[in-house]
């Protein structure tokens, strides 16, 4: 009743959630059993940057457009083309509409 049977597999979210919660509890237990000589706010928690001063947190923050730059850079060719397609010009939007209409017309005319 509660899960789904797709005919090829089964998905029961309640069982999954219970398992996940169990895993979280185990992780939490491990965390609690951690080292007792760790002190918050002391020299231990400071980042070590080869002896350099730690920059301000505002400067360390990875901003939105810096995330995944590697992936985007790897796909630069694709992105150059696909962004060129999004011209922002209304006539082009209408052209795409007419183009799709043409393709659908061909397919429907040819298929019996």
């Amino acid at each position: 009743m509660n899960g789904i049977d797709t005919g090829f597999g089964v998905w029961n979210p309640i069982a999954w959630t219970l398992l996940f919660a169990g895993a979280l509890v185990i992780a939490w237990v491990f965390r609690v059993l951690g080292r007792s000589d760790y002190k918050r706010g002391s020299e231990q928690t400071k980042a070590f940057l080869s002896g350099n001063e730690e920059p301000e947190p505002e400067k360390l923050h990875v901003r939105g457009d810096h995330l995944y730059w590697g992936l985007v850079d790897g796909l630069a060719g694709y992105y150059r083309r696909i962004r060129a397609v999004h011209t922002g010009v209304l006539s082009d939007y209408v052209a795409w509409f007419v183009g799709v209409l043409g393709v659908v017309l061909i397919i429907l005319a040819l298929v019996r």
């Binding site: 009743m1 509660n2 899960g3 789904i4 797709t6 005919g7 090829f8 597999g9 998905w11 979210p13 309640i14 999954w16 959630t17 996940f20 947190p57 505002e58 360390l60 923050h61 990875v62 901003r63 939105g64 457009d65 995330l67 995944y68 992936l71 985007v72 796909l75 694709y78 992105y79 696909i82 962004r83 397609v85 999004h86 922002g88 209304l90 082009d92 939007y93 209408v94 795409w96 509409f97 183009g99 799709v100 209409l101 659908v104 017309l105 397919i107 429907l108 005319a109 298929v111 019996r112």
Partner: protein, 515 residues
């Protein structure tokens, strides 16, 4: 009570229409009265939608026909319906429930979102017109009437997109979207004209009994597919969608997603109910599948590189339309030949509709709160909002995970059905769908990191008023509830809708034409 049940289909449309017509007058009485009125109208509409759905489900799923201005669908001795009628089957009722959810949440959110702005009464009026239009789209059983409601939604939606007239980009988006909506509506009307010319009728059930596979029918189908797919936002006709969703006020973006889904519903209605077996289902199914794959792929990859928060979510919304198209396209391609997975695919696609509107709506609303708080929508200059907007942060995370299909949220349940059934037709489809979901998770991790994590970049963000939080909590409850109990909801509301598409053509026609 009995009269209410009988007239529920028209009351669903009439109540928001009353709200729309009265809003400019009520607006003169001040903010409190206006808000109370809007809330009452939204709540009443939601009740009627629930009543209609309950009537349908307890009645065994047989379509409910409501004839406007008459008692019987057919006047005695005539084989053609003459009056406009609303026809509600499992799918219509399902879409009405989605729209009701969206309507209630949008009105609740708008209460404080729009308090300090000019033209609040006009905003309420347009919002109710849009809601009434979407209800009309999903309930009507008449092709020309469908066109009329299409135009109501177009005009109201564009009025709302361009509502913040001081924004340069809003005016641009409003003009472009209006031109495209009008064009798609006119092509739908042209197709309706072709069908009327051939068969002398406008009723969907009547046309479905007569349709053949002639050239004119095919051209009409092509016009309907292209026009409705554009309004739904399928790639490569999706370019208006990020502009519309991105530039509209946050609650309107959510209603616009429901509007796109109503177009998608109409596309499915045309394919399954109007044309059904009279055309080569495999070819049309593959048209949908190709459009869907393009939509999924381009949607997520474009979302990855957006710098504007609303526009990023909007591209995510475009990609989700692809999942529904994919699932139902697979279902249509194997219509009546492979019941072992065709029905599962359609079930997944239909279930994904309500999941999508809940997740995307939640994301739009949370983004609206974040933008309102920080005064910026540029991912580069936002950050650290989690320090002050704790509730919004959690809600955004819930929406993002659910949309990306992370268990145990609802997006996973419907996407699992889609993956497993499309895999049966071609493993490539499932692989692309899974990969796109992973990229989508990356997209929202980026958005979440940029907006909410990190040091406080904004000193004193505006707090989020309680009605906005409450509306987001409602959507989050839907997300989690549908995620934890998918079997229950599929059994109760999704299966009747999927059956209406898969095997409901005969029932739909018989409800009007008898026999």
């Amino acid at each position: 009570m009995n009269a209410l049940t009988t007239h529920a289909p028209i009351l669903i449309i009439a109540t928001p229409l009353l709200g729309a017509f009265a809003a400019p007058l009520i607006g003169k009485l001040g903010w409190t009265v206006r808000t109370a009125f809007a809330g009452a109208i939204a709540a009443l509409t939601g009740c009627f939608a629930g009543l209609l759905a309950a009537t349908l489900y307890t009645g065994g799923g047989a379509p409910i026909v409501y004839v406007l201005g008459g008692r019987l669908p057919l006047p005695s001795g005539l084989a053609a319906p003459i009056r406009i009628m609303l026809e509600v089957d499992g799918l219509s009722a399902f879409m009405a429930l989605i729209t009701a959810l969206v309507a209630v949440v949008a009105v609740l959110y708008s209460v404080s979102y729009w308090k300090e702005r000019s033209g609040g009464a006009l905003y309420d009026s347009l919002l109710f017109l849009l809601i009434a239009g979407v209800f009309g789209l999903v309930l009507t059983g008449d092709m020309f009437n469908f066109f009329v409601f299409l135009e109501i939604t177009s005009v109201a939606a564009c009025g709302l997109i361009g509502f913040r007239t001081w924004r340069k980009r809003s005016s641009e988006a409003a003009f472009k979207v209006m031109a495209l909506y009008t064009l798609s509506g006119l092509f739908v009307l042209l197709a309706v004209g072709l069908l009327y010319g051939q068969y002398g009728g406008l009723n969907i059930a009547y046309l479905a009994t007569n349709l053949g596979g002639t050239m004119v029918d095919r051209v009409a189908l092509a016009l309907l597919i292209a026009g409705l797919a554009m309004k739904a936002g399928a790639v490569p006709m999706h370019m208006w969608a990020p502009e519309a969703y991105g530039e509209a006020p946050a609650p309107v973006s959510m209603v616009l997603v429901a509007n796109s889904q109503a177009s998608l519903y109409a596309l499915f209605r045309v394919l399954f109910t109007l044309y059904g077996q009279s055309l080569s289902a495999a070819a049309v199914g593959w048209i949908l599948i190709v459009l869907a794959l393009l939509t999924i792929f381009v949607g997520v990859t474009m979302a990855l590189v957006q710098k504007d928060l609303k526009r990023l979510i909007a591209f995510g919304a475009v990609s989700q339309i692809g999942y529904m198209l994919l699932a139902v396209g697979v279902g249509f391609a194997v219509l009546a030949t492979r019941p072992d997975f065709g029905l599962t695919a359609i079930t997944g696609g239909i279930f994904h509709m309500i999941n999508d509107v809940a997740c995307i709506g939640l994301l739009f609303l949370a983004a609206g709160a974040a933008i309102r708080a920080s005064g910026s929508r540029d991912l580069h200059s936002m950050g650290g909002l989690a320090h002050s907007l704790k509730g919004t942060t959690v809600l955004f995370a819930v929406g993002a995970f659910a949309l990306a299909g992370v268990p145990p949220f609802n997006g996973f349940a419907s996407k699992l059905l889609i993956y497993e059934s499309t895999f049966q037709l071609s493993p490539v489809l499932a692989v692309i769908a899974v990969l796109a979901s992973i990229v989508l998770l990356a997209v929202f991790v980026r958005a979440f990191q940029a907006v909410f994590l990190g040091p406080r970049l904004i000193a004193r963000p505006e707090p989020v008023p309680w009605p906005m939080v409450a509306s987001m909590v409602v959507l989050a409850a839907v997300v989690i509830g549908f995620g934890l109990f998918p079997g229950f909801f599929i059994d109760k509301i999704v299966t009747p809708a999927a059956n209406a598409l898969w095997s409901g053509q005969g029932d739909y026609i018989r409800a009007v034409m008898g026999g």
